[in-house]
C-alpha cells in the first residue's frame, strides 16, 4: 500500500513536470507568433517640427507581456510541484517512523 502511494506520487510529479514543460513551450510558441512590430518611420530626412498624439503606444514601448505570462504559469506549476513534493516527503517520514515503531513494539512483545 505504501509503495503504491509512492509510485502514484512520483507518477504525478513526473507527469506534471513533463506536461508543464510542454505547456510552457506551447504557450511560448504561440506568444512568439505575435505579429511583427510595425516598421516605424524611417530615419526622417527632416527633423520633426510637430508632435503627433497617438491612441495607444506602439508595441515596442509597451511592457512585454510574454515574460509576465510565462512567469505566472511557471509559478503555478512550481508551487504545485513543490507542494506535492512536500506532502510526499512528510508522508514518507511518517511511514518510516511507523515502520520503526511497529518493529520495536513487535520486538518488545516477542521478548516477553
Amino acid at each position: 500500500m505504501r509503495r503504491t502511494t509512492t509510485t502514484g506520487m512520483m507518477a504525478l510529479m513526473v507527469a506534471l513536470v513533463l506536461v508543464g514543460l510542454s505547456g510552457a513551450g506551447l504557450l511560448a510558441y504561440q506568444a512568439g507568433q505575435a505579429p511583427p512590430t510595425p516598421a516605424g518611420q524611417g530615419a526622417g530626412q527632416e527633423p520633426q517640427d510637430q508632435f503627433v498624439p497617438v491612441k495607444s503606444l506602439p508595441q515596442q514601448e509597451q511592457l512585454p507581456a510574454v515574460p509576465l505570462l510565462l512567469t505566472a504559469y511557471g509559478f503555478v506549476w512550481a508551487v504545485l510541484l513543490v507542494y506535492v513534493w512536500s506532502i510526499w516527503r512528510r508522508l514518507m517520514k511518517v511511514e518510516r517512523e511507523m515502520q520503526d515503531l511497529s518493529s520495536r513494539v513487535a520486538a518488545a512483545a516477542t521478548r516477553r
Partner: protein
C-alpha cells in the same frame, strides 16, 4: 483505495496537461492583450481557494461542535490548501496587474480582503504549529471567522468601485474563452480534490503514529 488514487492522479494529470493547450488557442482580449491569459489560471485558483476556505470552516465547525477528530484533520488539510492556492492567486494577480493596470498592487476592496483572508489561514497554520496543546480548537475558531470572510471577499468587488474586474465577467464570457475557462476550473477542482485527499491522508497517518506511540509507551 489505491486503484482509486491512481485513477484520480491520472485524471488530474490529464486534465491539467490539456489546459495549456486549450489556453494557447483562446482569443486575445481587446484591451489587455496576451497577458489576460493569466485569467485561465488566476480565477480557477481563486475559486479553489474559496472552496478550500469553506471546507476548512465547515470542518472546523464540525470539530468544535461535534468533536470529531476526523473533521479536524480535513480542516488542517483544507487550510494548507487555502494558503497554497491563495499564494497562487496573490502572485498571478499582480503579474497580470503590472501590465493591465500599470501597478503591481492596489489597496482596493477585492485585493485587500483577499490578502486578509489569506493571512487568516496563514495564522491558522501558525497556531496549529506553535500553539501548544489545545491548538486545534484555537485554529478551528480562526477557520470559522475565515469562512465568514469568503462571501465578503466575493461580493467586495460588486459593492465597492474597484479596479479589479467584477464578478459579472464570468457569466458574460465570450464563446472562445468560455470552454477553456471552465475546463481549467474542472482541472483545478480535480487537482484540489486529489491534494485534499492526499493531505488528509497525511494527517490520518500522523494520528495513527501518535496512537502507536501511546501503545509503545504502555509496553
Amino acid at each position: 483505495m489505491n486503484k482509486g488514487y491512481s485513477l484520480f492522479v491520472l485524471l488530474a494529470v490529464v486534465l491539467f496537461a490539456f489546459a495549456p493547450v486549450l489556453v494557447a488557442e483562446t482569443p486575445n482580449e481587446a484591451t489587455m492583450g496576451l497577458v489576460q491569459k493569466i485569467f485561465y489560471y488566476h480565477v480557477p485558483s481563486a475559486m479553489v481557494m474559496f472552496m478550500a476556505a469553506l471546507i476548512c470552516g465547515l470542518a472546523s465547525a464540525a470539530y468544535l461542535f461535534r468533536t470529531r477528530p476526523g473533521a479536524d484533520r480535513i480542516a488542517a488539510a483544507a487550510a494548507e490548501l487555502t494558503v497554497v492556492f491563495g499564494l497562487i492567486v496573490l502572485v498571478t494577480g499582480p503579474l497580470w496587474a503590472r501590465k493591465a493596470w500599470g501597478v503591481w498592487w492596489q489597496w482596493d476592496a477585492r485585493l485587500t480582503s483577499t490578502l486578509l483572508m489569506w493571512m487568516i489561514f496563514v495564522a491558522y497554520l501558525l497556531v496549529r504549529r506553535f500553539g501548544g496543546p489545545g491548538a486545534e480548537k484555537l485554529s478551528a475558531a480562526m477557520a470559522v471567522f475565515g469562512m465568514a470572510n469568503v462571501p465578503f471577499v466575493y461580493i467586495s468587488v460588486n459593492i465597492w468601485r474597484t479596479v479589479h474586474p467584477t464578478t459579472a465577467v464570468i457569466p458574460k464570457l465570450p464563446g472562445g474563452m468560455r470552454g477553456p475557462f471552465w475546463f481549467c476550473v474542472l482541472s483545478f477542482t480535480v487537482l484540489f480534490g486529489l491534494l485534499l485527499a492526499l493531505r488528509t491522508r497525511l494527517e490520518q497517518r500522523r494520528a495513527d503514529l501518535e496512537h502507536l506511540y501511546l501503545l509503545a509507551d504502555e509496553e
